[in-house]
Symmetry: C2
Subunit: 218 residues, 2 copies
């Protein structure tokens, strides 16, 4: 509403994304989307052909926006860090903070996080691509790091360790509303996420028995 009138197509993707993220594909009608976007229902079919194609378009937009492969990136930027315990701890610290920052900085629309989570819960064809091209390289990078620090670790251990980070991102993407009921309105701000990143980084570094960077001590 308050935003300047972009072209109808973009506006429809935004409006639809917001609604789909909140109520799921079947929970939203084309009429609701059209009303929110301030256009008529037929505009949806003119621009996208069907409700389903509009959904796919919104999901694709969100997936493209989400980089997410942070371990791989941090290691690529400075591979030498893999060689020493201090370097490995540094990789973890940087990755965790960057992941929380990327996911929860305030200019990322909430719906992009939520619609991705819905895709995870009910995988579709769009999503297999996401898993293969975005997530898998990151898992591989994390595996290399873990094995460098702890040779002979098994796959379950590595997966569980990496999931400490990913599951926390998932939780705050999905359960924000419920957690604010529990912990107070507005309690989940930038400050909160920075505090959480600290704890998660500490836990992951210490689980691997690496030396704690000074700024993460107690």
């Amino acid at each position: 509403m308050a935003e300047a009138k972009k072209n109808t197509k973009e506006h429809l993707i935004d409006s639809a994304g917001e609604l789909f993220a909140q109520d799921g594909f079947e929970g939203v009608s084309t009429r609701m989307i059209a009303e929110k976007a301030g256009v008529k229902v037929s505009a949806i079919h003119y621009h996208f052909g069907s409700k389903e194609k509009l959904y796919t378009e919104s999901l694709t937009r969100a997936v493209e926006y989400d980089s997410c492969a942070d371990f791989a990136m941090v290691i690529a930027e400075n591979p030498a860090l893999l060689e020493t315990p201090v370097g490995r701890a540094e990789i973890i610290r940087t990755t965790v903070f960057r992941t929380f920052y990327d996911n929860f900085r305030e200019d990322t629309p909430d719906w992009m996080r939520q619609i991705i989570v819905q895709g995870i819960m009910k995988p579709s064809s769009v999503f297999s691509d996401f898993l293969e091209t975005v997530l898998k390289p990151d898992v591989d990078a994390a595996r290399r790091l873990y094995l460098a620090a702890r040779p002979g670790a098994d796959e379950v251990q590595i997966a569980a360790w990496l999931d400490i980070l990913h599951s926390q991102i998932l939780l705050y993407s999905v359960a924000k509303e419920a957690l604010e009921v529990l912990r107070g309105e507005g309690s989940m701000d930038t400050e909160f996420y920075r505090g959480v990143a600290r704890v998660v980084a500490r836990a992951m570094i210490l689980e691997l028995e690496l030396p704690l960077p000074v700024d993460l001590e107690q």
Copy 2:
């Protein structure tokens, strides 16, 4: 189908729960539920009055089944453990293993986990009760433990630490299908969850800088 014919009402709750958990409230029609349960649509209205009341009934069933308040219980069973570092580590170890066991033992239907998660994502009145009566006491118990080990810790730190456990439970409840695509069919069995519980317990104990129980070393 394969199960012995219980009474129609129970059968409807099971069938509906399974479908609602997978596709959400709006994603499921009364026709689908009736067909799955092998009865006619009107039976739903006879027994429950409406689709919504059937949904509430399924959700309530799942919430009642889910104990979840494990920290509170473990501490109540042996409050003396709170007094020493070794005891505190023991509380964490026991709670984490018990939580994973309770949530993922094989006689718990998948749909009960999933429908609760959907309740978290889109909180309703049924769910406020769940948060207040089930989750809150557990959070309080965890806070007492954390402060005993690290006096002066702030609320964010405590929340983030407790969420290491809760978020991992959420992840495996929600993303099982997607993760099996990534890690291989059937990879998420009892063995897997035990391995994960080990890593999570290690991470939570070490983040609090408590001594590691011998069976959790390396």
